[in-house]
């Protein structure tokens, strides 16, 4: 019987000939990611009463949620993690100088087609961009993986989103993700694996696939997945941490739902406070004043995002009543952005740059808004209090919409300041460390 990607991979990893949706299976993941929460996880691990990790090489730990440490409590967490890493001989440890965990894992070849990956972070779905089965789990579960190497999964139903057509100018993958969310709502893919396929999906760059699979969790998905192809294999050449074997859905397999999206029919979208699925066309809310623009997070802070931002800001100043906080997704992205002059452009336009990491996305530091203030963010969540102040409001949109909004001080359609894609692509092709991003 034809099977979906998730069914095939979970059968393979649980040693069964086949599995069906709803079945509970136990697997050993190839990668178990954790971040600053490793401090709490290591304490839970100690409570289990096992001395040594089942396999230290499964674990990848990245410090990113509050880097550098904002206060003594965060600093102690980081210290505890460094000690734990040393004691347990964990090789894959990325300290505060690397960037956001999801970007760091992608850049360093940890995300591979056909692998099973877990993370004590809801945005672990991001790794589906590489054709991995990647699902967010809880803190305790990573502690149990540390002790036993095992994790349970309910085999998910699979939903297929078929992507065709081409974006109009000013419309991006972020707008597509928001449009899907507006359509199927925040629980539209609950418990499901979401497979993004179709001719348009295979034209997406690695960065664009990462954005798409990152946002899958906001639809309720267990895992996002883009069937891997040459774009992924090329990216992984020379950096893949392990050998890999891609897994694909069989022709004729059973999808619980299929959705068709024509990229050419989309316009710039924005998620309004306080839910990710309160999605409207930007044109409906344009003109609304914002005090802060944040370009960062695991959704949209890669080199292509910063390129769009810089091209909008070139020879311009941001609005005098608006702050612009830019946090590159990783140090690698930041190095490239510096070489290409993007950081210079952001600073010259009146923006600020902070250390690669999660920044103010979940309200830990570096840009928590004041009461009554509105923030337009390129991140993925706008829940009440998300950025650290329940009396503030957060809007979610693409980097282009964010950049134009920073210039005008009001939520603005990206069409007001178009960018030259040919020029951007030429610049990106000269990037030394980051992969070329195509469009």
């Amino acid at each position: 019987m034809p099977k979906t990607f998730s069914e095939k991979i979970l059968a393979k990893y649980s040693g069964k000939s086949e599995v069906v949706p709803g079945e509970i299976v136990e697997v050993t993941p190839d990668v178990a990611m954790s971040h600053d929460n490793t401090a709490a996880i290591s304490k839970t691990f100690a409570k289990i009463g096992v001395d040594k990790l089942f396999d230290p090489d499964i674990h990848v730990i990245v410090l990113d949620h509050c880097v550098p440490a904002a206060n003594a409590t965060f600093a102690q967490n980081h210290k505890d993690i460094r000690e734990f890493v040393k004691k347990q001989g964990i090789k894959n440890f990325y300290d505060i100088n690397n960037g956001i965990c999801h970007q760091v894992l992608a850049e360093n070849g940890h995300c591979l087609p056909g692998s099973v990956m877990t993370g004590s972070d809801s945005h672990t779905t991001t790794y589906g961009a590489f054709g991995a089965f990647a699902a967010g789990v809880t803190r305790s579960e990573t502690a149990v993986i540390m002790a036993t190497g095992k994790i349970w999964f309910r085999v998910p139903e699979t939903m297929r989103i078929q992507l065709t057509g081409q974006f109009n100018s000013g419309v991006y993958v972020k707008d597509l993700a928001l449009a899907i969310m507006g359509k199927i709502r925040a629980d539209g893919a609950l418990y499901r694996a979401v497979e993004f396929d179709g001719s348009a999906a295979h034209k997406f760059s690695v960065s664009e696939r990462l954005t798409l699979c990152n946002m899958a969790v906001e639809m309720g998905a267990k895992a996002g997945y883009v069937p891997p192809d040459e774009t992924i294999y090329d990216f992984l050449k020379g950096i893949a941490k392990r050998e890999y074997e891609p897994v694909f859905s069989d022709e004729g397999c059973e999808y619980i739902e299929t959705l068709d999206m024509n990229l050419g029919e989309l316009e710039p979208m924005i998620a309004c406070p306080h839910t990710v699925d309160n999605v409207k066309p930007v044109s409906e809310v344009s003109g609304e004043n914002v005090e802060q623009v944040f370009v960062g997070s695991c959704s949209n802070a890669r080199l292509d995002d910063l390129a769009i931002l810089a091209h909008v800001l070139r020879n311009r100043k941001i609005d005098s009543d608006t702050r612009l906080i830019v946090i590159p997704a990783s140090s690698r992205v930041m190095i490239d952005a510096m070489r290409l002059g993007y950081i210079d452009t952001v600073l010259s336009a009146g923006g600020t740059i902070a250390t690669p990491g999660c920044g103010p996305c979940m309200g830990n530091h570096m840009g928590v808004p004041a009461s009554g203030e509105k923030t337009l963010s390129t991140s993925n969540r706008n829940f009440k209090g998300r950025m650290g102040n329940p009396e503030s409001e957060v809007f979610l949109a693409s980097p282009h919409t964010a950049a134009v909004t920073a210039v005008t001080g009001k939520i603005s359609d990206p069409g007001e300041i178009p960018v030259d894609w040919e020029m951007i692509n030429e610049e990106l092709s000269n990037a030394v460390l980051s992969p070329v991003i195509t469009r």
Binding site: A39, G49, S122, G136, S140, V144, D187, M362, K384, G385
Partner: protein
């Protein structure tokens, strides 16, 4: 061995002992029937309003976590919730972050169960793992108001209130095994024979 490190070790084993004792008691006393009042909320109650993200790395003690429960959703909750009370919500309860504190914080405040028409998947895992019973039901939302009395019989699979008795299917054996053990950690210890 210095006095400090000795005292740290003693303290560690004492904490361990308390932890094991607590788990043991919880398992022995896991109630088959709970009784309390209803806290009623809407759809898409996310983990940022259940347990604000800004506390995720600074509040590490479960009792303190309880004091932050539903801070950005319902200011009355922490002061007034009683053991055995039940949260009834709409769809997609617990969406958003994977933070375990969002399940722990209401558990330590005494919430005996959450009933929702659906749960976000990571929240469901967290609920099972911390021993918080989560019941999926689309029937009870209209039968209970905020503050109504409610009784849940886990063995019979019944929710009782002024508007009648509603049934829910028994928990999956696998999940119930974890909940009965007091959560994932005691369950794992048992499995490993520790």
């Amino acid at each position: 061995m210095t006095l400090d490190s000795l005292s740290a070790k003693v303290n560690y084993f004492y904490c361990e002992l308390l932890y094991v004792q607590k788990q043991y008691k919880r398992e022995k006393t896991m109630e088959k029937v709970i009784k309390g009042h209803v806290w009623k909320y809407g759809d898409d109650i996310n983990t940022d309003v259940i347990f604000p993200g800004k506390y995720t790395y600074t509040v590490n003690d479960p009792v303190e976590m309880g004091e932050k429960a539903l801070e950005d959703l319902d200011a009355d909750f922490v002061g007034k919730v009683k053991p055995g009370d039940v949260i009834i919500a709409g769809k997609n309860f617990g969406c958003g972050s994977s933070r375990e504190q969002a399940a722990v914080c209401i558990r330590v405040k005494g919430i005996g169960a959450v009933i929702a028409s659906s749960f976000s998947r990571i929240y469901f895992r967290n609920g099972v793992n911390v021993g918080l019973p989560l019941i999926t039901s689309c029937e009870v939302q209209n039968a209970f108001e905020h503050g109504d009395e409610i009784e849940i019989d886990f063995e019979k699979g019944e929710i009782r209130g002024k508007n009648g008795v509603f049934t829910f299917p028994p928990f999956n054996d696998f999940f119930f095994g974890i909940i009965k053990a007091g959560g994932l950690i005691p369950y794992t210890r048992k499995r490993l024979g520790i």
